[in-house]
């Protein structure tokens, strides 16, 4: 903002990215310090925690050397950060395998889960949002009340409700857990991912639905829609050609924020269904006190979260003509 002369020549979009990406990187750097410090204060010595009762003085010393536990904290931090940046976050304390190779498939699984969820949930939410905005009355009231109720329920409780309804007590249509052997693709057993996807879809549905509905209602009450109506344009055409494209700008931002919100929900939901993703991996790693794995997964989740948030702001800027042309920052 201060060096206007240098940045004035840039388009608002690139200016936003130029300020937000360094800020995002700073946030991640700060996050890495927090994660590292937090895992440092774990009670007891990490080497002793790992080896447990089988520890001998020699094996303790060897592991301490491997983990750089004898160097000062700042050196440990820098060595660890270098490892993270070069995609070599060390080896798991539990099975001795490189963290990257055991977590990478989980990241892929989680990403697939989140993207499938987002695609299904967002399209359904937009359709229902349009229906609710056009059919004010009992249809709108029912949809809005359901969305409000669903948004209140914690994701893991929603997951348990799905299991009770569709996998165990009421109907037994689907598997309650998506146990997959390591290395087996999640696509090999499609039925295993139906319930996790359905649960997460319900978790994010209310936000996109509400935004579509509010935004479309607002656009439908504007003068140019009134004008089109007076000219005798059909309702279908008004909604799909005139109103919806203008109503979708705030919705696009909510969709990106929804993906960020999924990062929080995905941990509990993966755990409920035993889905082999990052969230389940994080819970396992915490239970096993597997510090390098914890650090890596938390940072991976944070990176995704920060990236999606920047994307949300960028989309909002690009889809809002007023902000795009005057070059004002999306506050």
């Amino acid at each position: 903002m201060s060096d206007k002369s240098g940045m004035a020549s840039l388009s608002p979009g690139s200016r936003l990215l130029l300020t937000r990406i360094p800020l995002g990187l700073m946030t991640l750097l700060l996050a890495s310090v927090v994660v590292f410090t937090a895992t440092q204060v774990l009670p007891g010595d990490a080497a002793r925690a790992v080896l447990g009762r089988t520890a001998t003085p020699e094996s303790l010393a060897a592991l301490r050397a491997q983990l750089n536990l004898d160097s000062p904290s700042s050196v440990q931090y820098l060595l660890w950060l270098r490892g993270i940046v070069t995609a070599d976050p060390g080896t798991s304390l539990v099975n001795g395998l490189p963290v990257w190779s055991s977590i990478a498939p989980r990241i892929a699984n989680s990403l697939a889960l989140m993207l499938i969820t987002a695609a299904i949930s967002v399209s359904l939410a937009i359709v229902f949002g349009v229906v609710a905005a056009v059919r004010r009355g009992w249809v709108d009231a029912t949809l809005s009340a359901s969305a409000l109720a669903i948004s209140a329920i914690p994701p893991f409780v929603l997951g348990m409700i799905m299991i009770i309804l569709f996998a165990t007590t009421v109907f037994r249509w689907l598997p309650a857990v998506s146990y997959l052997r390591p290395g087996v693709s999640i696509w090999s057993t499609p039925s295993a991912i139906v319930l996790p996807v359905a649960t997460l879809a319900l978790v994010v549905f209310p936000y996109v639905f509400r935004m579509t509905r509010t935004s479309l209602i607002e656009v439908l009450s504007s003068d140019y829609i009134e004008m089109a109506r007076l000219k005798g344009v059909s309702m279908r055409r008004i909604i799909f050609r005139h109103a919806l494209p203008n109503a979708l700008a705030p919705v696009a931002q909510v969709i990106a924020l929804t993906l960020a919100y999924l990062v929080g929900g995905v941990v509990a939901v993966e755990y409920v269904f035993g889905f082999p993703g990052m969230g389940q991996g994080l819970v396992d790693a915490i239970n096993a006190r597997d510090i390098p794995t914890i650090q890596f997964i938390v940072l991976a989740l944070a990176t995704f979260y920060v990236a999606v948030n920047i994307l949300a702001d960028y989309i909002a800027l690009m889809l809002t003509p007023r902000l795009r042309t005057t070059g004002r920052q999306a506050a």
């Binding site: 329920i153 914690p154 893991f156 409780v157 009770i164 165990t168 309650a176 929080g264 979260y305």
Partner: protein
Amino acid sequence: MSSDTVVTGSGEAKRTGLLTRLGAKGVVGLFCCLSVTAFAVLAPWVIPGSPLDFVAAPFMSPGPGLPLGGDALGRDALVRVAHGGYQILALSFCAAVIGVLSGALIGISAAYARGLLDNVLMRGLDVVLAFPQTILALLFVSILGPRWWIIMGIVAVIHVPEVARVVRAASLRIVGEEFVQFAEMAGTSTPRIIIREILPNLLNVVAVEFGLRLTYSIAIISVLSFLGFGQQPPIPDWGLMINENRIGLTVNPWPVLVPVMLIAILTIGINLVADALLQRSPIEKE
């Protein structure tokens, strides 16, 4: 006699006033959360038996004397449900109160001070917001240990940035009002202006935030228990019970079903009340 009727009369008037303000949805919500709260608080005293006694076979079906059957270890599921709610409620309530109050004070201070303090506070909170908050809670609670005050403190801290942002936006209108300037001229101290002059004008905003934060507190605290980082066995706790008993869902669903329904009804109820307050509040109209 006459004073008696006056008291009941004004009491009635106040109650109907609140109920009409809430509307039908809000009243349903209020009923939901009050009944779950009443159950969580009263059931430990009303329902006899110890939540730690083994009285049945594991996952025994409901029968005489065991309305919900046995849990994973053969304890009375109903007694455990009865004893498993008040910690979640008390912790969530305290976390929401602390988080909303500190967030509100920070928000008002930032709006009132403007300038450097405003910038520093709000940018600092942006950094906290830029981090996935459930993950933050999970990380710290798993590391610092599942002690109740740690859980409460972390959940409270998580609420602060968002509450501060909302309250700051709402108080920007108020800090410029005449009565604030009068108080300044009268030499009122800054903390007094913030608490006695500005805060009372934001009660509606704070109430809505409190409702939302309470739902969120319950969600985080119960999921921490569910994942095994909250209350530790053998303490009865709704979140923990859901996890302990879910392997036996096909044999005896009740020890899972009842806590699931209680948490769902409670959070839906609070959300309905918060939504009703939001629709009646002036910020909605802007």
